[in-house]
Amino acid sequence: MSAVLVPGEAVSEIEEVAKTKKVVLGPGLRRTNDSVLACKAGVLCKKAPNMFWIDSYQRRYVPVRGECVLGVVTQKAGDIFRVDIGAHEQACLSYLAFEGATKKNRPDIQLGDLLYARLVVASRDLEPELVCVNSHGKKEKLGVLNDGFVFNCSINLVRKILNKNCPLLQALQREMPFEVAVGMNGRIWIKAKTMRETIAVGNAILATEFVSNDDIRKLCENIGNILFT
């Protein structure tokens, strides 16, 4: 189950399955009339019995509803903030979408602040919209992130470290305490006790990209050794 597809290629495998039952097409696949075409270059993946998608290397973020992203406030325009989340368009964030915010009690947000927020509107025809509260009006982990450092990485790396089977964060927290906020838009915010430890965490995360799960532990040990010798 690892056919490599290029855009425009018909995926006969899915068409076979579709004859007998319904199929769900994920990212990178598209139906035109009776055929299923790939619209991204990558590896075809399947989740039994009927889910298909293409796993591709990507750095450009396409907003998806419900995902948590990291963004930078670029503009304060009346009732809303404009937030750069690395998508084709800037996202908007209402000043009321914070915990405990009212018309009188505005959240304290400056230009250039880093926000961890959830996408509530992500349509290809509409401006993406963010909120910093959950449906109960609580902020949970969302909101402004202070100090620390944020860096960009590929979308694949984000998915990899958020995967349940990925030992990176467990292995890394054995070496040193740190905070991390992973945005699905390929931005990761990290904060550790010292500058050097923060850089070490970032180094470990970025180096994970092309390392297998078994080697991640060794990688983290290596980082720890460098840090404390």
Partner: protein, 438 residues
């Protein structure tokens, strides 16, 4: 498209890290990224990478009318292109402020310092001269375009050869390279630009800034300096003033760096000439086959610890330390690398022609000490020893400055210091370090 905004926390982090003498990519404050030079099959085409910043240079020439004021001199034009290929926020075909600035600095470095012998480009006075044009295309922008572009321009100029001509009466015949060997350009001296970014109210300068460092710095200094330690151009831009002391320190380091870079350029030119004379195929396609040019070839970790060597850097470091005779630093578990990273290592290894020369801060002016410093740079690691190194370095520099101030008067304060060289005695003598300030 707008440039991705820089968040407050990134900026604060970079500034704080510099305060603690750390850099995000694990370099020392005075360390430059590795420089790689490749030449194309054509005369006068060069591809230079400085870390991840890459510039492609091509020199072309045509016959044309000289300027009325200088009827017996050829012309030199330098043209920098910043396209969206370099970074998304650059607009195509539009002269941004940055383009003009880079262009002007390069013009000052190459044209105003009179490094190209324009008189030798004259075919017939007042009528026909060679017009040289250096086109610099920035292919990727990861900070410090100016250094990379200046090296590319110099490489291309030094590599370029214009066709021979014969003048019979009114008629000018341009010979093809088959008929008569093309003629190289005469360069009086080899200037390159060396940039620093300053932090902490102009108290600390870091060499070869990356994009994020450039954007969070207070000011930047560009030194156009040649291998004889002569200043051709000085550009100070930004918001804060710097101290004269720092300026002098940096100029001295820049001069050392310039010498190293020029040596590397000469070595690369010699290798290219050797390959050509041995009738080997040269050019970018050959470089691709040999894996000496690859996209994002250096390890791409934008955040790394100084001694992090789990993956790519491993072979790299071993090679450079072996060549310098220093003991190996081996990481635990480096035997268990997966195959995917092995391949990358190989590419890193194949780059070795030039790129395993690691630029370490060099604070003494005599090159005899090179090897000693090399070792020092290789062995040292960790924050503690870094600090010690730096203290030593500063002391050395201070001593040196005291010595140099007697011999090398560099006036401070001015934003531009064009240097007029006396072309008559522009011989190759190293000793000649006097400067005449315009």
């Amino acid at each position: 498209m707008k440039e991705t905004p820089l968040s407050n926390c990134e900026k604060a982090f970079v500034v704080q890290a510099i305060k603690e003498r750390l850099r995000l990519d694990g370099r020392k404050l005075e360390e430059f990224r590795p420089l790689k030079i490749n030449f194309g099959a054509e005369w006068g085409s060069a591809h230079v990478t400085l870390g991840e910043t890459r510039v492609l240079a091509q020199v072309s020439c045509e016959l044309g009318q000289p300027k009325a004021t200088r009827p017996n001199e050829g012309l030199l034009y330098i043209n920098v292109e910043l396209s969206p290929m370099a970074a998304l926020h650059f607009e195509a075909g539009r002269n941004s402020e940055l383009t003009v600035q880079i262009n002007r600095i390069l013009e000052r470095t190459f044209k105003d310092s009179r490094c190209v012998d324009l008189e030798s480009l004259c075919v017939s006075a007042e009528d026909k001269v060679w017009i040289l044009r250096v086109d610099l295309n920035v292919l990727n922008h990861e900070g410090n375009i100016i250094d990379c572009a200046s090296v590319a321009a110099l490489c291309a100029l030094a590599h370029f050869k214009h066709p021979d001509v014969t003048v019979t009466g009114e008629e000018i015949k341009i010979h093809t390279s088959a008929e008569k060997d093309p003629i190289p350009i005469v360069l009086h001296h080899y200037p390159v630009c060396v940039s620093y970014a300053t932090f902490q109210n102009g108290e600390v300068a870091i060499a070869d800034p990356t994009v994020i460092e450039e954007r969070s710095s207070e000011a930047n200094m560009v030194f156009g300096i040649n291998s004889y330690r002569e200043l051709c151009c000085l550009n100070l831009g930004g918001t804060t003033l710097t101290s004269s002391n720092l300026l002098l320190q940096c100029s001295s380091r820049a001069a050392n760096r310039a010498k190293q870079v020029v040596d590397q350029i000469k070595a690369a030119l010699a290798t290219d000439a050797e390959a050509r004379s041995a009738d080997q195929s040269v050019g970018f396609t050959e470089c691709l086959k040999m894996n000496t040019i690859n996209s994002l070839a250096q390890d791409r970790l934008s955040l790394r610890l100084r001694r992090f060597n789990f993956t790519l850097d491993d072979d790299f470091r071993n090679m450079s330390s072996n060549s310098a005779g220093a003991p190996d630093i081996k990481a635990e578990g480096d035997d268990s690398l997966p195959d995917a990273t092995r391949i990358d290592e190989n590419t890193g290894l194949l780059n070795s022609n030039q790129s395993n020369v690691r630029w370490v801060p060099e604070d003494s002016s005599d090159s005899d000490e090179d090897e000693h410093i090399f070792e020092k740079g290789d062995e040292s690691g960790g924050a503690d020893s870094d600090d010690k190194d730096l203290e030593e370095e500063l002391e050395n520099v201070a001593e040196e400055m005291a010595y140099k101030r007697q011999s090398q008067p560099i006036s401070k304060g001015g934003s531009q210091q064009p240097v007029k060289r006396n072309i008559d005695n522009s011989s190759d003598s190293e000793e000649e370090t006097t400067m005449v300030l315009g």
